[in-house]
């Protein structure tokens, strides 16, 4: 689990992605959510967690980065939960 100060340090870089239009390059779905490698219009890449509500997301889709919260992954392992400011991906 990241500490509060680690979360605080991570926020500025994460916030830069908020509201950005991105394209899905790679995606892997798990039982509870999934992960997508996305690329923004400047060609910068990052991996984000995909929320369950966006489970129909597929390769090549374009969408917007929104604020959200993470949960358990498919193995039922709690790696990092509800990290404040974690960004999720929702389709337009």
């Amino acid at each position: 689990m990241p500490s509060a100060i680690q979360i605080r340090r991570a926020l500025p870089e994460l916030k830069q992605w908020l509201g950005q239009e991105v394209r899905v390059l790679l995606i892997s779905k798990t039982a509870s959510s999934g992960f997508a490698m996305v690329e923004n219009e400047q060609g910068k890449r990052r991996i984000f967690q995909v929320r369950k509500e966006a489970s129909d997301l597929k390769l090549g889709d374009r969408g917007k980065i929104v604020l959200g919260f993470s949960g358990r992954n498919a193995q039922g392992l709690l790696l990092h939960k509800a990290m404040l400011g974690l960004l999720d991906f929702h389709q337009n």
Partner: protein, 358 residues
Amino acid sequence: MRKNVYIAGMGLTEFGELYERSMESLMHEATLEALDSAGLKAEELDAVFIGNMLGGELSSQSHLSSVLSELLNINCPIVRVENACASGGVAAHLAREAVAHGVHGRVLALGVEKMTDHDSASVNSCLMHAAAREEREAGLSFVSLYALMAQAYALENKLSESDLRTKLNQWSSKMHENACGFSKAQFKKIISPEEVGQSPILSEPLRLLDCSPISDGAAAIVLSAEQNEVELKDSVLASDAAALSQRSIQHGMPAVRRATELLFGQNDLDISSIDVLELHDCFSITGLIALQDLGVLDPESKQINAWGGLKAFGHPVAATGIRQIISAAKTLQKDQWALTHNVGGTGATAVLHLLRRN
């Protein structure tokens, strides 16, 4: 002038869920066996390199040099090496360099990991220390990272989901078949390709039986410039960004490709010269990616992971790189070449070793 480096002795514990064994007892057993097979006493060692990733996190012991000093009652230089799942291979690399450059005469390279004292959630969280910060923040685990790489591999090679699944099923099934002959392997159980394909999905497209296990174990080799049957001919190390998104490609490992080019270039060899391969298949897809990165076009012509690889022999992470060298050395026949491929993270560290039996 560089010296030739030979494997003088080898030691290997059983790999698996060894609840009665401590990290210290595993490293002691592998070391004593390696010394015994080399016909050496501990005090005859000039230096030791210990590969270990998770001793601090999972056994509350990161100062392994002091532990080995006490176990063996020796006072030579002992260094702990940490490079994620490549820690063992990097320890062997440094040990080989020390002998080749004449810094030390007889050097022990040891890899040890004790992983099963904790629940898998804790272990997976600690393993993610080898990933990038942005990947931890997103809640990723290595199975999801390799799942993304599997998708990139399928796209690059124009494989349908079904074609990829067939290849992954065959890999895992073959590894279990290979491990069956080895008493020290973690899984000595045949699984069919169909069973792999029907196991639970963890992170699409990867399933439970695509994954190597969490394991305990230790492996050790003694290296020396005194001529012996198996020569550790060369070793190359390369590195890359931890974050998968920051690499030039996601369907392969640029660090492995760089190391391969260097290794073959400086030995005037190519992949067709290699008879025995030990590949780092922490997931079935990692085995397929390794074949592609090394340029293997005819896998049927080579002995690949003859002891079952990480997938079935087990993967006590820092012991793996040295276990691969032992497997390769024992599989090699006279005048054959072997190559071991050991990676850390999703390929941020790559270490290759070249062996020959004279």
